[in-house]
Symmetry: C2
Subunit: 488 residues, 2 copies
């Protein structure tokens, strides 16, 4: 079996595990979770075993030795498989098992600690997770600082210093936009009628919208969960989930647009390369660019609602007397709030800048776990002008650290930045732009398919953006977007 056949077999296992994971989040009866964990653990052990086997190594070496370098895609696939093999085999099995156990214990502890807003109850777990993260970084190796090795796992070939530089530059600009946006929003508030927005009507409306932007229900579905996500169960089996608020239909709608953005990327990857790097999404920062593009640049635009608002009014009679102008004010509202997942576009990245700074210092050994709440609150005060009411609304709010996801947060802002740059580049084509202005998104999707989706992870994220937009990634388009959206 060649290394590519092996990689495809590996995808059979991980995608099977994804089916079990999807069911766990959507339909699993409440009394059944323990055995499901055992089934998932069996599958992940088989996937790990395969991808770290001597046989895998030998086949990879054989293919590398035989590669004449003439086929860019082939070479990129081998380079990426090598990268993944090296990262996987640099961690001893004992460490992987220890990490998996620590994550599962810590998630539980975090969930309890958050409920009680009790950081000291979570602190020893965070110590363990941090020490595992540092051990992994040491084993993987890094150019400048341990955090590099972690970030690289989520956003390949991206350095901590470059992100820090970007965020340092953005911080004052974003703070200024946020302050003005919140001020304008306060002066022009509009309150969405509280419904009713029956779930069934929301589901039908959302499906209509998702289909209209190109999400393919022949190879996808939308189901209900507490924590929305998009998951890939096979090359032609992409599942979105959302949750419903019967007093605000926009909550599930923007959720669906976000997840459908992820889903369109997955549906646009080359099917025939499923399981190979060239058939796999390149990074979280690129993935998030797709979800943010459809959620924010498309879904929160005036052109979108010129088309969809009358239809929404048909679906939801509660909107009958609420004007589109008031509705857009509601959609574009901005406020300083302590919770990241509830943040609007104007303030979102401030939450990320805070987290990135904090976890970089933690990982690099410059911030002790016991000092995290104080550092969080201080940084929050600087950015948002007030102190969170408690740790539950502060350093305990996110699940990421408890899952061992140190190094992840920056990719959300990279996604925002990439989304704006891609959207602006697509709009350079006047046909695409005029279609967008008529809420016809087929040309935009075709451009994304060709410029982003078709390449899988053949190019590094920065190179992909450069090739798609003609420029290296910068925050220029993103800042322009925020300005024109909020500073009206």
């Amino acid at each position: 079996m060649s290394i590519f056949e092996k990689a495809r077999e590996h995808a059979l296992i991980t995608s099977s595990a994804a089916i079990l994971g999807w069911d766990q989040e959507t339909f699993l009866p409440s009394g059944s979770s323990k055995y499901r964990a055992a089934q998932l653990s069996w599958l992940s052990a088989r996937a790990h075993e395969l991808a770290t086997s001597d046989d895998w190594k030998n086949e990879l070496e054989k293919a590398e030795a035989a590669d004449p370098g003439a086929d860019h895609r082939l070479t990129a696939n081998l380079r990426q498989l090598r990268r993944e093999f090296d990262r996987a085999t640099k961690l001893p099995v004992e460490l992987v098992a220890r990490e998996s156990e620590a994550n599962s214990i810590s998630m539980h502890a975090w969930s309890e600690a958050r409920k009680q807003s009790n950081f000291p109850a979570f602190a020893p777990h965070l110590e363990t997770l941090l020490s595992i993260a540092r051990e992994k970084a040491d084993r993987w190796g890094y150019a400048n600082e341990p955090y590099d090795a972690l970030l690289d796992g989520y956003e390949r070939s991206t350095s901590t210093a470059a992100v820090a530089h970007l965020f340092d530059d953005l911080r004052p600009k974003l703070s200024k936009i946020a302050a003005e946006a919140v001020d304008i929003s306060n002066r022009h508030a509009a309150k969405l009628p509280t419904g009713p927005y029956p779930i069934k009507a929301q589901q039908e409306f959302n499906a209509k919208v998702a289909e209209s932007i190109g999400f393919d229900f022949q190879t996808g579905r939308i189901d209900t969960t507490t924590h929305p996500f998009c998951t890939t169960l096979g090359p032609a089996d992409i599942r979105l989930t959302t949750r419903y608020d019967e007093t605000d239909f926009t909550s599930s709608l923007f959720g669906v647009l976000h997840e459908a953005g992820h889903g369109l990327y997955e549906q646009g990857l080359p099917d025939e390369d499923f399981g190979l790097p060239s058939g796999t999404a390149v990074s979280l920062g690129i993935h998030e660019s797709q979800s943010r593009l459809w959620e924010n640049h498309v879904g929160r635009s005036r052109a979108f609602w010129n088309h969809w608002y009358p239809i929404a009014q048909d679906f939801f009679p509660a909107l009958a007397d609420f004007s589109i102008e008031d509705f857009l004010k509601y959609v574009w509202r901005a406020e300083f709030s302590p919770i990241r997942v509830e943040a609007d576009e104007a303030t979102y990245d401030l939450h990320i800048i805070l987290r990135f700074g904090l976890e970089r210092r933690m990982v690099n050994g410059e911030l002790a776990v016991k000092d995290v709440p104080e550092a969080w609150n201080e940084s929050f005060r600087e950015l948002f002008g007030f102190t969170p009411p408690d740790d539950r609304h502060g350093c305990l709010q996110d699940i990421h650290w408890s899952m061992g996801g140190l190094g992840y947060f920056a990719t959300y802002s990279l996604g925002n930045i990439n989304a704006a740059q891609l959207f602006a580049a697509a709009r350079q084509d006047s046909e695409i732009a005029s279609a967008i202005d008529q809420a016809n998104y087929a040309p935009l999707l075709a451009w994304l398919r060709k410029s982003v989706h078709a390449h899988g992870s053949v190019y590094d994220p920065a190179e992909l953006i450069q090739r798609a937009t003609g420029k290296p990634p910068t925050a220029d388009a993103y800042l322009s977007h925020l300005q024109s959206r909020y500073l009206r």
Copy 2:
């Protein structure tokens, strides 16, 4: 790893495959079936590999050698694991692969042939399936005739001759009951109001009924499919499915009662032995006894409807003017129809007797494939008094042969017979009987848990029935049941 640990690992794999299979029948997007087949095939190859490995064999031998014979359950587990190992390893991998491919091609061919009522299009596939079945029988070995080896795979330690003897005895008795039942039913017909019976109301009513008989929704679910089934995704994860007819709520209700009967058995198996024979259902004939008991002895009884009919009338206003007497006439209707899956209790087993006779002759080489339609129609005429309109309503109606399921059909009637014997035995206890008469089924379920479910496959089917009822399996209780139900 001991043989028991290995058996539990095997169950992790097969139950994971069951999750993929369940999803395939309920939620899989239409464009995704091809990759799902590849995922399932990977899992089944791993399960087969494990259960036929040298390592498995060595551990089994070690455990057998070490068994002092003092623990009946342990010895039974080893005996059954040995039985399964021998059956699995007697078939060469080449034959297993050939069979799997033939089944998948034949199912497709059968589905097309049935649509067009074109037996000659299916005939060459049936030839192949038959020759594979005979080859398997030869490799497994048998005492008297090849059919024994096939039947034994579905109903262990049951001989063809014994079933034939039973059916020969039953045939005239069942024919007499059926003829009288159909006659009475024709003279006292009652037509169910055509609704509407909205799906949502059916779902709520069915769930109420399923819960009331003891189906545990903490460890189970009911979803929607075209072909209803019950499947086990883990020791505490039992999924039922049903389908809805908006003009007849009893269709999904009796479907749910049937599948919940299977589900109650699975929920009643000892969780701690999941994956071991002692934690696994013993045979199809015992499994079907549980579904038939709840569907027919409970669900079609007057006591059941005395309690549930007023509630059904609340759920379905269309029933307001339809009396319970008329409703029971509808529930107890009997007719001679060509299709097995639509048959009532009075005529069902005649369909089975026909199939058992035919496939026994096919497997034993006494009936050529080309002669099947004629033999079917002749036998049908003898049993039902008319000829099926075409092969679609005759020898092409069932999926079983096309799946390689030769030897399966008899277990449906064994299930009917076992159900009646178990139900009658339970009613010997006056407390259980009087609870049943008040539509309180907790004591009945407790008796089934103790007498049947708790034993997994420690005992052979006949021994299980003997222990539970004090008598070897006979059709006496079943005939009494049919008489008192139909010959009023």
